[in-house]
């Protein structure tokens, strides 16, 4: 029986640096280095986020760096204490019944946190042991996972010489060792080559077919589109949009996005563009950059070129993108996912 995830009004304010990818670097001795008047550190990572993931679904959390995705995963996996709000994995309250929750979940962190004192096989078998999997069963599962994740030829080596992709695959294999009912993947394909990424997607789908509920975070549109049955777009710790990738894409006005870079964007020209047939919205992004939302793409370009020419404005760049979650994100937040 698959189980779901529920979060209600989650809030988290960090008073010390949050566990982003950047944290942990550049530590140094601070002996005697007075930092002047004490600076108050405060970062609002989650600002009333609620969501519900149905049993057996692949749910995507999509957002740029610092949107609160990792914090959401941290709260749902018992690792971060929320400042406010509640969350449940199946029937269990994440904070009150953390041991029961930990038994049900598997977590693949953003950066592999594997036990470097062990070999690949031992990473899996000891993880199984922590979850009370009997010894013969552990050995069998470990062998099976090592083969499925194409790690069997390095199975009995220490992790020191492993490549990033191998470590990432081993992290996922480890999360599957105790056959969790809910699997959390925090940016699972970051830093993977395209081939490994496809293998990973295949593995995620196969695991989902066995009834595992999957929550993954990504800032890769393609990934969300390819894997997720529903996607939540988050930014600044808030939910911005929620729906199937199709629903979300069709909610963008016009669907197509024509991004123009002009030498200048005089107001008259913007007004003219606005009146073009099929154009639903024109936004100025400063410095002569214009975003046109329209129901057609390439067909608009000749008219745009003619109008610009008439206005005496030089076109420096034209980009047309088809309906995508990326455009949706841009539409809702005014900034691109990669910013």
């Amino acid at each position: 029986m698959a189980i779901g995830i529920r979060a209600e009004d989650l809030r988290k304010t960090y008073t010390s640096p949050p566990p982003t990818a950047a944290a942990g670097r550049g530590f140094g001795v601070r002996l005697g280095a007075r930092r002047g008047p004490k600076q108050k550190f405060e970062v609002k990572a989650l600002d009333g986020l609620s969501l519900e993931v149905s049993p057996g679904e692949i749910f995507g959390l999509l957002g740029p760096n610092g949107a609160g995705k990792s914090t959401t995963v941290g709260v749902l996996t018992t690792r971060i204490r929320p400042t406010g709000g509640r969350a449940w994995i199946g029937p269990h309250d994440v904070w009150q019944e953390s041991v029961a929750v930990k038994r049900l979940i598997g977590v693949v962190p953003q950066r592999p946190n594997l036990d470097f004192a062990l070999t690949a096989r031992e990473v899996l078998t000891f993880h199984g042991a922590y979850f009370g999997v009997p010894a013969p069963e552990r050995a069998r599962r470990a062998q099976d996972l090592l083969e499925r994740f194409q790690l069997s030829d390095r199975a009995d080596q220490l992790l020191l010489g492993f490549s990033g992709g191998m470590l990432q695959r081993l992290s996922i294999a480890r999360a599957l060792m105790h056959q969790p009912q809910v699997l959390f993947l925090d940016e699972p394909s970051a830093g993977l080559d395209p081939q490994t990424r496809l293998l990973l997607w295949e593995l995620i789908r196969r695991d989902n077919e066995r009834g595992t509920t999957i929550l993954l975070t990504t800032h890769n549109m393609e990934e969300a589109d390819a894997l997720c049955s529903r996607v939540a777009i988050v930014d600044h710790g808030r939910l911005i949009a929620l729906g199937t990738p199709q629903e979300l894409k069709s909610s963008i006005p016009g669907g197509y996005l024509v991004r123009l870079q002009l030498a200048a964007a005089p107001a008259e020209l913007v007004a003219v563009f606005q009146k073009l047939p099929g154009v639903t919205e024109v936004r100025t992004a400063g410095n002569g950059a214009l975003d046109l939302y329209a129901d057609r793409g390439g067909a608009l370009v000749p008219e745009i070129a003619r109008l610009s020419d008439e206005a005496g404005v030089e076109i420096r760049d034209v980009r047309i993108s088809e309906p995508s979650l990326e455009n949706l994100f841009l539409h809702h937040t005014g900034r691109s996912l990669r910013d």
Binding site: G74, R79, N113, A117, Y130
Partner: protein, 256 residues
């Protein structure tokens, strides 16, 4: 508490310790053995130090070896596992309360401290040669003392490992641990500080004093030592203090 998880983690630590057995052994025993050789063999044979000093020195060396190996075996892995690589997460996500992960670390450190003590006694005895005279007349007291000292070592390791960063740990050892060793009455009995009355009072805040004096009180009771009641009371107090502070620090570091 989940016994299966707890013992699986102990098994993991034992497995890693076994893999690093030789370097671990050298790291904790090499320095004390050099000391034993110079003070217990060279200086006593040349007549610069009286031969009875051998029996006086050995209990102190046991205390030091246990403390160093216990502190190291808990603090060093914790510092690196909490840093950057976050290796500890693996165990924090295991189905067991977080405090028990810390307690497992302490138990594993205690076992390593006891192992170090068990290796140090015969080795030091061999290095010093003839003239070492220990009495094992109070085995229960010796056992209790061993456990208390091992717990002290591992708890101090827990506190250091959760409070000190990777770059500061070396500094910590030379600025805090080294003076504690030299003023820990390991190389001389506490009573010999009588000529420095202020120092003699000050060193009483140093837990190593009670470990060395404790082993002296059971292994060579004929030499002067602190009263046994004081020793046991002080060790229990230090154990509780360091362990509870260490657990608190661990929780603060583990849950963000």
């Amino acid at each position: 508490m989940n016994p299966k998880t707890f013992f699986a983690m102990l098994h993991r630590d034992a497995h890693v310790a076994r893999r690093n057995f030789v370097p671990l052994l050298l790291q904790t025993l090499f320095q004390p053995m050099l000391l034993v050789f110079v003070f217990g063999r060279v200086m006593t044979s040349s007549g610069l130090i009286r031969p009875e000093y051998k029996s006086m020195l050995l209990p102190g060396i046991i205390a030091l070896a246990m403390l160093l190996s216990g502190v190291w075996s808990v603090a060093m892995p914790l510092v690196s596992e909490f840093q950057f690589t976050k290796e500890i997460e693996d165990r924090l996500l295991a189905p067991m309360e977080i405090e028990w992960v810390a307690i497992e670390k302490v138990v594993s450190g205690m076992l390593q401290a006891i192992a170090a003590g068990a290796v140090v006694i015969p080795t030091a005895w061999l290095v010093m040669g003839k003239g070492v005279d220990l009495s094992f007349g109070t085995p229960l007291q010796f056992l209790l003392l061993t456990i208390l000292v091992a717990c002290l070592a591992a708890s101090v390791g827990l506190v250091l490992g959760t409070s000190v960063g990777q770059t500061q740990i070396g500094l910590m050892f030379s600025l805090v641990i080294a003076p504690m060793i030299f003023f820990g009455c390991a190389y001389y009995p506490w009573s010999s500080l009588a000529t420095f009355p202020i120092l003699q009072k000050v060193v009483l805040v140093n837990p190593i004093v009670y470990a060395s004096e404790g082993f002296r009180s059971t292994l060579v009771p004929r030499f002067p030592h602190l009263p046994k009641e004081w020793i046991f009371l002080a060790l229990v107090v230090f154990d509780v203090l360091f362990l509870s502070f260490g657990l608190r620090q661990f929780r603060r570091k583990a849950v963000l």
